[in-house]
Subunit: 518 residues, 2 copies
């Protein structure tokens, strides 16, 4: 006979959800107690909920399966909300288990009581409060189905304490796998005709289209049509490097995106949304596709995006076309005083085969794509929802999902400080993550945005809001304090050496790269 | 001619809201730019939104006036949600300014887009998205009125970027001050009669009743009726120490509360809710007042609580009664290896006149009330909403509100790590805060809760969820890395010396007190 908590964990494990990123409290104590009765569930403690939710995102990107989170009532969910927002934008599956007060206790409005469902709706495609122990396993199955139903969504199951602790529950069978609906042959034909009519076309690839099979299909199409291949700006996971077809990722700044798309007569969307400026700017259009360019939605993100590209290969008779592949090219080792660009080159010069890059270095990483394009094959994970503080947690989750692959987390100083607690979980789980902090002691992105709004000379009080100096943050102290071997470098030679050492030595390392302010 | 952002800040300052805790992004850049045109607004940068919202809470507790926050869209509000939950439970005024995308930009569903109002409702008594620049100042006045309308609430004003940047706004006049409705004479009479009928009565004081005038009125009532004086568990601010009437704060554990209230025939609520167990426990009642005790609501939190106590003094003819006051008593300096109890004694032995204690040391601080009861007069701020990670931010806000008073933040290791970024703002603003970390390397409260659910021997996998060792967190490194003078002590003598030095030297200090695990 199981209590609710045991049946819940058994059901999750039975459906393949065997990893849980946790920050539990009293209302989740029965779920914690049940861990020892279901050893197949791996529970990974975090010091802060944003680490748990971002790790679940990173795990799902690499495992193509959901992890669970275990969080403490409304405030715990609130602390995890920003990275669930990013997970929603990454279109990955996540199953949140949020503890709540016992059903009969909520009427007393005790301190931790709040409307959890309301908060959950901000990020979740599916929200339910389980009301009876007998129904908890069934509710969990529906949560998993919602999370994995295409393309990938955040599902939030709220579990009152008495629903966890009462006996009388049985685990439930896993849901059938989610099926992505196929794209109609009419749509395929229409897109094929447009690509045959004009040589000035581009395909904007997103989601599953950015894995090897999608990239190869797109590259075959390019070989026969001359179409340009783009990746959406906010890529959850891009497979790239020597031997794979290369794609050009859309830029952040709207002027640059307009240039990238300049002259196109047709833009085909495969698993991606039409490009828009991330933010609005006074007097500028937020839409970035020129009026002379027709946009065709080949396959929305929830559809069978890979299938749509393969069907398009057939329609264009490109099955035997030879795709252009990225040639191998490793940048030379940089020398002299560090700059952001040299950090990117050093990463390229040392990147090991099979690496996973979690990229949240923001403005500092502009040279990263060119510095790593021809490196040994790797995966590239980026900030999907614009809520900074996602890179370190995503690195945690990726390392848990792929224990045999080295993870490199490239972090801006400002972003790193939102979820710096990630370092402790890296140390505790001895994850093979090398964290590189690009420390320019400012919110450089905001300085750039400030210049854009036409303020030539920011006043001292405004400027103080954009600067991270005074005091300078010492990331070596922070890393050491959270249990990670940490060092600071200020020359390109030292950085390259430090990267090589960190990569050769399994387990977590932090390297603080001090670079000039922008 | 002002743009919306300028008029917004002018309106806030005109209403006395001249302090803003910030973590801005691109959608708030015009508000940042406007700071230099309204020098009376003090903007205090934080590295994480939970620091900003907790600081606004601490500021309001000490200033009896709202601070503003400036946060970045839905994810920024999400990161600040847990401490807004605590602020809501503290019944303090807070005015959140949340930037949003330009009104015409939201249709594109770009990465940072989300339903901000939905998240805000979890914690806010008042939520509005300002739609026109001309109406922004008026909306700000309504937000301030909602925040300050009794007793104190969280108001959230969402400001789209174009509403900020467009010209044509004028600042608006401040709202009239909020008025707490008086308690009816019938209610006063009924309570007075109950207290005259029985000597077995208690008054549970909350909110404004815990300041000196309320305490003195309650103590006069006690002098003539023999009633017991209790403070609610989750006190936002309690004035205490030598020369003030002493009150007994309700305990955390329900059995202890039942003992505290044992034998009462009448419990009078003055600004407090009836006591309930924080969490439900299997087979136990959540209500803690025995069935033989009649509960009388003298004054709900939003009413004129102080006036109700003064009216009760009149009704009981107690105006000339001599209240019993706390005698001065400072504990002797502790000696030998540190324990949690000795840390509390060392705090009592060194507490300076006029100190503000932010107490989030949880299980470690059980000896704190007795160790400090007879100390020089001080204020005591506690965790109001149960969402840990509030103590350090509250200390930031209290120090900003009261720059001439020393602030002592007593923090559990687990709690401190949620919002450790607070230390940087303490350093940047050179706040006079002494942070004492009770480092027992575990979530001791969860170990205790675990024992309560009847699991005699937690399995290794459950136990791992409750322990913060492996690796041990080094708070001296964390404090130093974030710019604060930091040291570790493991003897009572060293701690007392360190406290005296820190208190004598204005500016922030961190002391890590390593104590045995529970």
């Amino acid at each position: 006979m199981n209590n609710g908590a045991q049946a819940l964990i058994q059901t999750l494990v039975g459906a393949g959800v065997d990893t849980c990123f946790t920050n539990p409290g009293t209302s989740e104590i029965h779920v914690v107690a049940a861990l020892d009765s279901v050893p197949k569930m791996r529970a990974i403690l975090t010091l802060f909920e944003g680490v748990a939710t971002g790790a679940a995102d990173g795990y799902a990107r690499m495992a193509d399966a959901p992890a669970a989170t275990l969080l403490h009532l409304g405030p715990g969910l609130g602390n995890g909300l920003a990275n669930l927002h990013n997970a929603r934008r990454a279109r990955v599956p996540v199953v949140n288990i949020i503890g709540d007060h016992a059903t009969y206790h909520t009427r007393y409005d005790t301190p931790l009581q709040s409307d959890i469902e309301t908060v959950a709706r901000n990020v979740s495609a599916w929200v339910r409060t389980s009301r009876r122990t007998e129904e908890l396993a069934r509710d969990a199955v529906e949560a998993i189905a919602a999370a994995t139903g295409p393309p990938g969504q955040v599902a939030t199951l709220i579990v009152p304490a008495d629903v966890s602790w009462q006996d009388g529950a049985e685990p439930a069978a896993p849901p059938p796998p989610g099926v992505s609906p196929a794209v109609s042959s009419e749509t395929i034909e229409a897109v094929a005709k447009a690509m045959q009519r004009s040589r000035r076309t581009g395909i904007l690839l997103g989601g599953r289209a950015l894995r090897e099979p999608g990239l190869r299909a797109a590259a075959r199409i390019a070989a026969v049509t001359g179409t340009k291949l783009f990746a959406e700006r906010n890529v959850a996971r891009l497979e790239r490097g020597a031997g794979l077809p290369a794609v050009e990722r859309l830029a952040y700044w709207p002027e640059l995106v307009s240039k990238q798309l300049d002259g196109l007569e047709h833009l085909i969307l495969a698993g991606a949304a039409a490009p828009h400026s991330s933010f609005a700017y006074e007097g500028k259009d937020s839409a970035l596709v020129s009026t002379g360019c027709e946009v065709h939605e080949l396959s929305p993100p929830a559809s069978d995006v890979l299938g749509s590209l393969e069907d398009l290969v057939e329609a264009l008779d490109a099955a035997n076309a030879e795709p252009i592949l990225q040639t191998a090219f490793v940048p030379s080792r940089p020398e002299g005083p560090l700059t952001a660009e040299k950090v990117c080159k050093a990463v390229g010069a040392t990147l090991p085969e099979g690496a996973i890059i979690s990229d949240e270095a923001i403005t500092s990483a502009l040279a990263l794509p060119s510095s790593t394009a021809g490196c040994p094959r790797h995966d590239w994970l980026t900030l999907t929802g614009g809520a900074i503080g996602q890179g370190l947690p995503v690195a945690v989750g990726a390392a848990i999902a792929c224990p045999d692959r080295p993870v490199i987390a490239l972090e801006a100083d400002g972003s790193a400080l939102y979820t710096i607690q990630s370092l402790w979980t890296m140390a505790r789980e001895q994850l093979d993550v090398t964290v590189v902090i690009f420390n320019n002691r400012s919110y450089a992105i905001l300085n750039a945005e400030f210049a854009r709004i036409g303020v030539q000379e920011a006043g001292p009080r405004a400027r103080a809001q954009l600067e991270l100096g005074n005091p300078d943050v010492d990331f070596v102290e922070l890393g050491t304090g959270l249990g990670i071997s940490s060092r600071r470098v200020d020359s390109a030679e030292h950085l390259t050496g430090a990267l090589e050492q960190a990569i050769a030595d399994p387990g977590p390392h932090l390297i603080e790269a001090v670079i000039p302010a922008v």
